[in-house]
Symmetry: none
Subunit: 150 residues, 2 copies
Amino acid sequence: MKARRQGVILELIDQEPLHSQELLRRRLHKAGFETTQATISRDIKELGLVKRAGDGAYQRPGTDAVSPATVLAALERAAAEFLRHVDRVQHLVVVRTGAGQAQALALAIDRARLPEAIGTIAGDDTILVVARDPRRASAFVKRLEAFAGF
Amino acid sequence: MKARRQGVILELIDQEPLHSQELLRRRLHKAGFETTQATISRDIKELGLVKRAGDGAYQRPGTDAVSPATVLAALERAAAEFLRHVDRVQHLVVVRTGAGQAQALALAIDRARLPEAIGTIAGDDTILVVARDPRRASAFVKRLEAFAGF
DNA sequence: CATGACAAAGAATAACTATACAGAGAGGCG
DNA sequence: CGCCTCTCTGTATAGTTATTCTTTGTCATG
């Protein structure tokens, strides 16, 4: 029960900025979890979340949201800001980001519609990019590294 | 005045964990700044600091220093509690957990920064772990199974 | 000098969060 | 079973933080 609830909390805070535990409690209620502010306080502590002073929203540690203009510029910015490491195994590219930043960078990659990237799957701090073949995977790695300034 | 005070705040929070604005106020006082909690609240907001849920300390964004021993212990607990099954195909490891527990375990794996795991992607009850090669994938499987008590 | 426009900050307090305590339920064991 | 222990959670409340309202100081201008 507890583990499941904490998983939902992570999903919720990724979806919209939640600036109080009371608000989070109401969202959990809609998701079918009946609980109290006290329990949420403990969950947040166990998950190691962080409350940003800027807007008071709870976040996974290390997350910094950005909303840029054009898709390529967006990808460039996102790569420069979030990218930690890129690795390739055959036609698969594993992209590492800071904790909780994978979704943001993956979104930018998807929107850029790069010819070499067929699709992406993002976890918390890792993105798996599937390329059509090793050559294009390698090209993608180079492009991303250039964006990130490696 | 304000800029200088905010600079001192940054120095102070780097030196020791400060878990409340009142404590910060006393430190500022010793540094020669006479001010109130309200002003410090505003300073913290302008500096964009974050309050960690773990120990309640204020930090600059992006400084998520957690000791390796702690994250490993966390992984061990998470594995013991959530892990159901582990399987390997080449350099990919498929980890099965109870429903809704994949995110939690994946987070623990990510934080542990194990050398054999390049990255993870978690769904609801399944985690895909990408290793650099089959040998390391196998090592990862063994390690996880040991944690889980298999 | 008077005045208006601001930025900064304190006092009071509303809003929010963490915690002490207690109770319920699960599992282990004589 | 009866008792112990452990984990999880709710209630009540202590503790902490954000905000509203107000004052003060500074600068520019007529």
